[in-house]
Amino acid sequence: MWLPIMGLIIGLLLGSLLTFSIPIAYSSYFAIAVLAGLDSLLGGWRAVLENKFDGMVLISGFFLNAVIAAFLAFFGDMVGLDLYLAAVIAFGIRIFSNIGAIRHAVIMQHRQKRLEKAKKIVEKKDMDHD
């Protein structure tokens, strides 16, 4: 359940150790791609919780969305339109809705566990009475 967060933290640490960097000219496009990636990741987590997970859908979305978002930003710069805003808003909204769904699912899970625990106690008591 918390493994993906651990993965993210390890990734951050690993990134700090690496000296790899991209050309400064592409930094804004890369940032958009990162935003798209974050959206895909949260979408994937949501899918896992809602039991709709599909690895192919996730991985294709992760890379394709990133590439398209970066391209959109690049194209916007070419024609003088702030098209990157479209990507920022779209992914921003999706990130929030995904986080909302994850929160929902986690709370429900927690309640379910407590309910089951209570049930067990009640069953045990019933057995004691018998």
Partner: protein, 259 residues
């Protein structure tokens, strides 16, 4: 889809999917760090280019100040030599007198005498008020002293024998212009408040000031401008040089000699 009821969900979470997600999160973490690093590099670069420019300007200014200092000291040396030699020979005395007069008119010596002091400042109070009351029509240009204001005032007070702005002597070859948001006099940057010193007949100078169109414009724009007569104004020497790269003394008989 049939399993989307959240109450039964946690039973179906598969470790394989979570590991898959973890790998992706790892990748994203690395990407985030790279993005942050690239952004920081970009910010550092823009900061750097500004800093380079500032360093360059400061270096140039220091250099020009040093050169001006050199000119002053060399001029002092020349003066000393003249004084020494002039003591013995009367011919040189006459020459030195004329040289002193030329130096005086050229602005190469510090001068003192009666005249007027004109002070100007940006209308900051008016600017603040206008910004607060009608920000839509607010224009900062209307509340500051421009290079043209100083230039036209110097022109208007044409009876002045010596002029300085913020301690910088105005001579024939002087320039008053603006570079960006600062005014430059003789390639030295000056900042408000501006103090203009004029040596001459105080009454005439004041009359010239009050009759100049620029003074009326400044009053109308409510730029704080003040003029007072003074009996003892000291104006420093011109620290620059006159360039004589192209002109030379004309001699009538020269052409006949070369023919």
């Amino acid at each position: 889809m049939e399993n989307s009821n959240p109450r039964h969900m946690h039973n179906h979470i598969r470790l394989q999917n979570v590991l898959f997600l973890t790998g992706l999160a790892l990748l994203l973490g690395i990407m985030i760090i790279i993005a942050i690093r690239a952004n920081m590099a970009q910010v550092a670069q823009t900061d750097n280019s500004n800093q380079e420019l500032i360093d360059y300007i400061e270096k140039q200014e220091a250099e020009s100040a040093e050169l001006e200092q050199q000119i002053v000291s060399i001029r002092q040396e020349i003066e000393n030599i003249h004084e020494q030699s002039a003591e013995s020979e009367s011919m040189l005395n006459i020459l030195n007198d004329s040289l002193a007069k030329i130096n005086l008119t050229a602005g190469y010596t510090a001068v003192s005498g009666p005249g007027i002091v004109v002070t100007l400042d940006d209308n900051t109070a008016g600017a603040e008020l206008a910004k607060k009351n009608n920000p839509a029509t607010y224009n900062a240009e209307n509340f500051i002293v421009h290079d043209k204001d100083l230039l036209y005032l110097v022109k208007a007070l044409s009876s002045a024998e010596a002029v300085s702005i913020n301690g910088i002597r105005i001579v024939d070859s002087s320039s008053i212009r603006c570079v960006g948001s600062v005014i430059m006099v003789n390639s030295t940057r000056i900042a408000p408040p501006y103090e203009m010193l004029f040596i001459g007949n105080g009454d005439i100078l004041l009359e010239e000031l009050y009759n100049s169109g620029r003074y009326i414009t400044l009053m109308y724009k409510e730029i704080p401008i003040n003029a007072t007569k003074s009996d003892n104004i000291v104006i420093p020497a011109y620290s620059g040089t006159y360039s004589t790269n192209y002109m030379h003394v004309y001699r009538e008989n020269r052409s006949s000699e070369t023919d």
